[in-house]
């Protein structure tokens, strides 16, 4: 029903293995193509070598390169017309403010439900993953 080349790609950057696993499992079951990175640096590396994904899900607190540092690199190295929307996932109490700080397009406050993810995806990618 969905051909691979029309599938939308989502980059998930998250250091917590179980969260990363859950997101990947869920998004793939929804029909998206999922690529992952364990920290900001991995994310940047991926973006430099691959076509821009349709959406980036970004954890904020990570070792090596955290969400803020990633955002800074991302904005610096990729032009605005090229950039995919970024949705930050944060456990901070003031999630919305943190998202604004990182100049993200949307935010998910940890813990979040699968429905909340779906709502964000629909907002930025439309109703259909393909």
């Amino acid at each position: 029903m969905i051909t691979k080349n029309t599938q939308k790609t989502i980059l998930v950057i998250e250091d917590e293995a179980d969260i990363l696993f859950s997101l990947k499992t869920y998004l793939e079951s929804e029909g998206y193509q999922v690529v992952t990175a364990e920290n900001g640096e991995g994310g940047i590396n991926f973006l430099q070598k691959n076509p821009m994904p349709h959406l980036i899900l970004l954890d904020m607190k990570m070792p090596v390169m955290n969400g803020w540092e990633f955002s800074e690199h991302y904005r610096k190295n990729f032009s605005q017309s090229l950039r995919a929307p970024v949705i930050v996932m944060t456990a901070a109490a003031d999630a919305e403010a943190r998202a604004r700080e990182a100049q993200a397009n949307g935010w998910l406050g940890k813990p979040f439900s699968l429905e909340e993810i779906t709502a964000q995806l629909q907002k930025f990618l439309g109703t259909h993953p393909g």
Binding site: D18, S22, P63
Partner: protein, 623 residues
């Protein structure tokens, strides 16, 4: 005013002997003059005699002088050429007697004529002066006891002209009983010539009012020195005395207030700031006695007090508030520090101002200061405590933030995993058992965090309990080491255990927790692949366990914060965890009566260690 007898005297009446002397002197002068001028002027006795008689009568002070001159000059006249018969001396003598009497009569007539005019004029002047100066005038004819008072006198003594008896008793009755005896004595002494009449006394009016009077008088005497009359003045000094008394009272009040004041008070006089007054409180605060105080000197060295500002910076004497107040009229209030001779410091709050005269010129400067050492200390302690409390509050707020974050991560993972499982079940798909496995891991992690938090809470409230067992610490370390070695196969964990087991009364679970925590930190905070060295040293009273890593080390600031709750040695957003590990370790070791610490410097790695006592009786306490 006719009551007064001012007698202008052309020549004052003299004692008879004095009159004879005057006659001799003036005759002598005339004879000498005649002898000197003999060569070119020979005055006839007819010229010399009247001249001598007139001069003598005027200056000699009575008929006696004139007669003396007459006799002397008559004999002198006998020596003149052509007069050596008996007629001429007789004529001379008769001329002298007649001239003397005539001059005396003329003198009396002149006195009578001019005296009246002078008297009226003088009296007018005197009345005016007396009225202006609020002075009463009196005269007392002592022989006849006739007392004459002007209206002012009556007013002073509070009596009416109609009741005025004109006797000296009036005066005596008017005196205040307490002053009467003394005043009467002064009067008697003045009359007898022992003293002058000059005194102050109180007057008691019939209506009970009291006036203060200052009196002066002089005594007129006859030729024999007998007092005939007294003439005097009374001055009402009630107001003056009252004012003086008020000023004295006021001075007494102020002095008492200044002396009794718990505040230190120092007064320096303009323009040089000579020290006028230092109250006991000031000496007390400055910590000296009178000997430390040099009064009546220039303010620049007025006291051997050392005064600094509140930051302990010495103030030069000429810049002291009092000096500036006296010199330039400065008003100021500030906190100062007095350094006592023994070196003790007292903090004072001081207010200084110039004291000005009515015309605005500076009279003196006054400094008032209170000792606020205790309050100042309290304030400083309070502010330090508040600062510490604020730091603690911030740390706690930060900790809450971190704790929430740390708790949310496993909750998020577990929640997502649960939702996925639910979805699979709803869709009728085969259940992925790894999801449950992962869920279990996350929930374990969550419960560990909760246990940590509970432990901190217990330590914080002092209710963490230990379960002591006789435990081989060497074995415990070996177990911990091998557990981590399996978990981190690429790290070399070196532990050379002592030959003998080391048995101590400890809580093995808690101590294992400490061992794990220290080893976990060493691995976490040092580069991958670097070794970790464990060591167990056994002393006579203590054993020391240490963990050495080859990581980045810690700054002094980091080391200081290390063992407090909610702090990490190296603040780093990238590091996860609650930062409670070392705080819990310290708590556990402290409960074992041991101590925990770190030796570290940046770039050189860190050695964490703890010491535990070997004596069992100590270790049993607290279980």
């Amino acid at each position: 005013m006719d009551q007064f007898n001012f007698i202008p005297q052309l020549a004052r009446a003299r004692h008879p002997l004095s009159q004879i002397l005057w006659g001799v002197v003036i005759s002598g002068m005339i004879i000498t003059l005649q002898s000197l001028l003999w060569s070119w002027f020979i005055a006839t006795p007819y010229v010399l005699m009247p001249l001598g008689v007139i001069l003598t009568s005027f200056f000699g002070g009575g008929l006696g002088a004139g007669f003396t001159t007459t006799v002397i000059l008559s004999f002198y006249g006998l020596t003149f050429p052509g007069t050596n018969d008996w007629v001429s001396p007789v004529i001379f003598f008769l001329t002298g007697v007649f001239g003397t009497v005539l001059v005396d009569l003329a003198q009396k007539k002149i006195r009578e004529l001019t005296g009246k005019e002078v008297r009226a004029e003088e009296a007018e002047r005197l009345t005016f002066a007396a009225a202006s100066a609020n002075i009463g005038i009196w005269e007392w004819d002592i022989q006849n006891d006739t007392l004459t008072w002007d209206d002012q006198m009556l007013e002073f003594y509070g009596i009416d002209r109609s009741t005025f008896t004109g006797k000296v008793d009036t005066w005596k009755k008017g005196l205040h009983p307490e002053d009467a005896e003394y005043s009467n004595q002064v009067l008697l002494d003045a009359v007898s010539g022992k003293t002058s009449f000059k005194l102050e006394f109180r007057v008691l009016h019939p209506n009970g009012n009291i006036r203060m009077i200052r009196a002066n008088a002089y005594v007129m005497r006859d030729e024999k020195g007998t007092a005939i009359k007294m003439f005097g003045l009374n001055q009402d000094i009630t107001k003056e005395k009252n004012t003086l008394r008020e000023i004295r009272d006021l001075k007494a009040y102020f002095e008492a207030a200044l002396v009794q004041s718990p505040a230190g008070i120092v007064i320096g006089d303009a323009p040089n700031g000579l020290l006028r007054f230092v109250n006991p409180a000031a000496l007390n605060i400055a910590g000296g006695d009178q000997s430390t105080l040099v009064t009546n000197v220039d303010i620049n060295r007025y006291a051997r007090w050392r005064i600094t500002d509140i930051n302990s910076i010495p103030i030069p004497n000429e810049e002291l508030p009092l000096a500036k107040a006296v010199r330039a009229g400065h008003t100021s209030s500030e906190n100062l520090i007095f350094i006592r001779p023994n070196g003790e410091k007292r903090v004072v709050f001081s207010q200084t101002a110039p004291v000005r005269r009515e015309d605005g010129s500076i009279l003196s400067g006054i400094s008032v200061f209170v000792d606020i050492t205790e309050q100042h200390k309290l304030m400083e302690e309070l502010s330090a405590a508040r600062e510490a409390a604020e730091v603690a509050m911030r740390a706690k707020a930060k900790f809450l933030d971190i704790a929430a974050h740390e708790l949310r991560t496993p909750v998020t993972a577990a929640s997502l995993l649960t939702q996925l499982t639910q979805r699979q079940l709803e869709k009728g798909e085969a259940l992925d058992k790894t999801l449950l496995q992962r869920m279990r891991v996350q929930l374990d992690r969550l419960s560990r965090l909760v246990v940590d938090l509970l432990e901190v809470s217990k330590l914080d409230r002092g209710v963490l309990e230990l379960r002591y067992e006789c435990t081989d610490l060497r074995g415990l370390i070996a177990d911990c080491s091998s557990t981590f070695q399996i978990q981190f196969p690429d790290r070399k964990i070196n532990f050379t255990p002592p030959q003998e087991p080391l048995e101590l009364m400890i809580d093995p679970i808690r101590i294992f927790e400490v061992l794990s925590n220290l080893l976990d930190n060493a691995i976490k905070y040092s580069p991958e692949g670097s070794p970790i060295d464990l060591e167990l040293q056994v002393g006579p009273e203590f054993v020391r366990y240490s963990v050495r890593d080859y990581g980045p080390g810690l700054t002094e600031e980091g080391q200081r914060k290390l063992f407090s709750a909610f702090e990490r040695g190296n603040v780093n957003e990238k590091t996860s965890g609650l930062g409670l590990g070392l705080f819990i370790c310290r708590g556990i070791i402290a409960l074992h009566n041991g101590s925990i610490g770190v030796h570290s410097s940046p770039e050189k790695g860190s050695t964490f260690y703890f010491d535990l006592p070997r004596k069992k009786e100590l270790q049993k306490t607290g279980s």
